[in-house]
């Protein structure tokens, strides 16, 4: 009976862009949770930064009516992911819970998946990751440290999902709505990031995605993402669903 079993969920995220204040708390939480190496000056200069979630700035409208906007972007965990079929070793595949998972051990580092991704949310480890001595003891023991030569990306904090479902299974109950949280969603001060189960029609995220403001990023690629965005409410103009999708 227990729906804490593997495969009973379809994890997804609803991002309410209207609530996002661009504070970058999610970014910091993600770096800390997932043992992401520090983006040093050298890495930034050589365009080799790794940030599983990022807050992107973009412009809406043409000058002089342009408005600066920002939007958090992470792996969209597409149902129809362009990164998956191109991997020669099945290092990335879609699991039964709707996650696009990356198997570090299998990855040989062809970087083909990253080329296929329209959201550019896949990152390659050009060097062996290093941390300053002071941070060595702060690493998360639940998360693998990725060696050089492999791809990595947002995992929807799969270690947290596993921990929650393990606890629920051992207690013989279902996972409650909102019990499993990613690092970014639990760090978000305005609840712009909401994580949950799309399979449960009564979950918070399932209800949120019914909102008429909902859209998915870059829908022209037909990727069918598991991350749903709710459009920014603009007092000056009426914004229809999906209008954000196409600008750059």
């Amino acid at each position: 009976m227990t729906t804490a079993e593997f495969g009973a969920h379809n994890w997804g995220m609803v991002v309410d862009v209207d609530k996002c204040i661009g504070c970058n708390a999610c970014v910091i939480a993600c770096q800390a949770e997932n043992n992401i190496p520090i983006n040093t000056q050298d890495r930034v200069e050589r365009a080799r930064t790794i940030s599983w979630i990022r807050v992107e700035r973009y412009w809406e409208g043409d000058f002089p009516d342009a408005k600066a906007r920002f939007i958090p972007i992470m792996c969209q965990h597409c149902e129809n992911a362009p990164c998956e079929p191109v991997c020669p070793v099945y290092a990335t595949y879609h699991n039964a819970e709707g996650l696009n998972v990356q198997v570090y051990n299998r990855c040989v580092g062809t970087r083909y998946c990253a080329n296929g991704c329209p959201y550019i949310v896949r990152f390659f480890n050009y060097w062996e990751p290093v941390w300053p001595e002071s941070l060595r003891n702060h690493l998360n023991p639940d998360v693998t440290i990725r060696s050089r030569g492999i791809m990595e990306k947002c995992s929807f904090c799969v270690q947290r999902i596993r921990r929650t479902s393990r606890t629920a299974r051992s207690e013989g109950r279902e996972i409650a709505d909102g019990e499993a949280q990613t690092a970014c969603s639990s760090a978000c001060p305005t609840s712009a990031l909401n994580f949950g189960n799309f399979n449960d029609p009564n979950s918070k995220v399932s209800k949120m995605k019914e909102d008429k403001r909902h859209y998915t990023l870059l829908d022209q690629f037909g990727t069918d993402p598991n991350v749903i965005y709710l459009a920014k409410i603009d007092a000056d103009k009426k914004v229809g669903a999906g209008e954000h999708a196409s600008h750059g």
Binding site: A47, R57, V86, P88, V89, V108, Y126, G149, F221, G248
Partner: protein, 459 residues
Amino acid sequence: MQQRRELDQVYTNRKLLNGQLDTPKWWAPTVTILGIGVVIGLFVIATMINKGLGVTGLGRPVYWGLFITTFVFWVGISHAGIMISAILRLTQAEWRRPVTRAAELLTVFSLLTALVFPLIHAGRPWRIAYWILPYDVARGIYPNIRSPLIMDPVAISTYLTGSTLFLYVALLPDLGNLRDRTTGWKNAMYTVLALGWRGNPRQWKMQTVGGILLSALMLPIFVSVHSIVSWDFAVASAVEGWHSTIFAPYFVIGAVHSGVSAVVTMMALMRWLWGWDDFIRPEHFDALARLLIVVATGWLGFTFLELIFALYGQDAPEIALREMQILTWPWNMLFIIFLLTGYLIPVPMWLFKRVRTNIALMFWTSILVNIGMWLERFLIIVPGLARRTPFVYTWEAYRPSAVEWTILIWSFAWVTLLMLLFSRFFPLVPLFEQKESQVFTDDVMIGRAKVPAIVREAE
């Protein structure tokens, strides 16, 4: 057009076997220098594998750079062999004969070189066994055959096997010839390799039939190899500059353009270095240049078709990408050089017979073509990735590092070294083809004119 020239067989043997029987003086020092260069290159590759891909200039989103460009380039060059040997054999072009061996060799060695690049460009090359070998049957995880990166090694290794066979079958009569002219360990080597070739009618028949069958079988492989390489790019719908249906034939015809040009380069070198003026003659350059004019013009047509249909949809990202690729510094400079060297300089020059029969000019123009064709691949692959996408804060961030340039230069030294080593032991111009062409050509008198003629199979 064939110019008939009577060359007796003793002369042919002596001249064409001069690489094996009396090695030219320049051979040993050249090989030594190239060898040192190759060792340095291998050391750089080893360092890169040891340190990690951080030593390259790659970043995000330009995940593929010089290595993949060079890979495509060498696969392209490899199309020379089958184009010259198989297609021209099936279409019965007489002038192909002296260059078949060189073209096939180019195929084999450039494929061997091309294969290196996808391996070393991977993050963890020592795990490549995952790719090609179906490993760990117990867990049931085979390589993903949907991935173009699996189709690539399959296509290339098939092509490599086929071309090697093709080369070998055509080498047999010459091996028999060498066996009869050598002593000692060389004789033993040629004896084994010649597989008992004595040149009786049955063996000739089998060799001919084998050659024709291989030609016909190699054709689909020839087309498929570069098509599959092109699909590495074309299937990625998220990359605007790559997702085009024209890529497969476009890459194939471009490959023929660069491959045949590389053969012209080689022919000029062979003529100069070994003094085969009687065998590799201006009319051969003339015929190849005529072929190249047609191929290059077709290729240019495909280039424009690709561009027109990139703009056809009038989508903002695609137009932005093309603006960057063609109009923005430094890509515009590369684009202009690419157009000039790939087409605008060489092809109009080839329209003149005086250029087509001038060996030095043909040598330099054919090198220009290959500079252009390398740039073409670079301009497809890198701007396609370096373009600014809607939600990303880095773009255009790629400058090839010294390591990448070194490895690129290494690949040329490596192919040349392999060629020279081969030339020490095996003839670069097929002796039997040369003699056969003597037998199959004749003159006929039409009116008062003496017209060269070719013997063809009766209907």
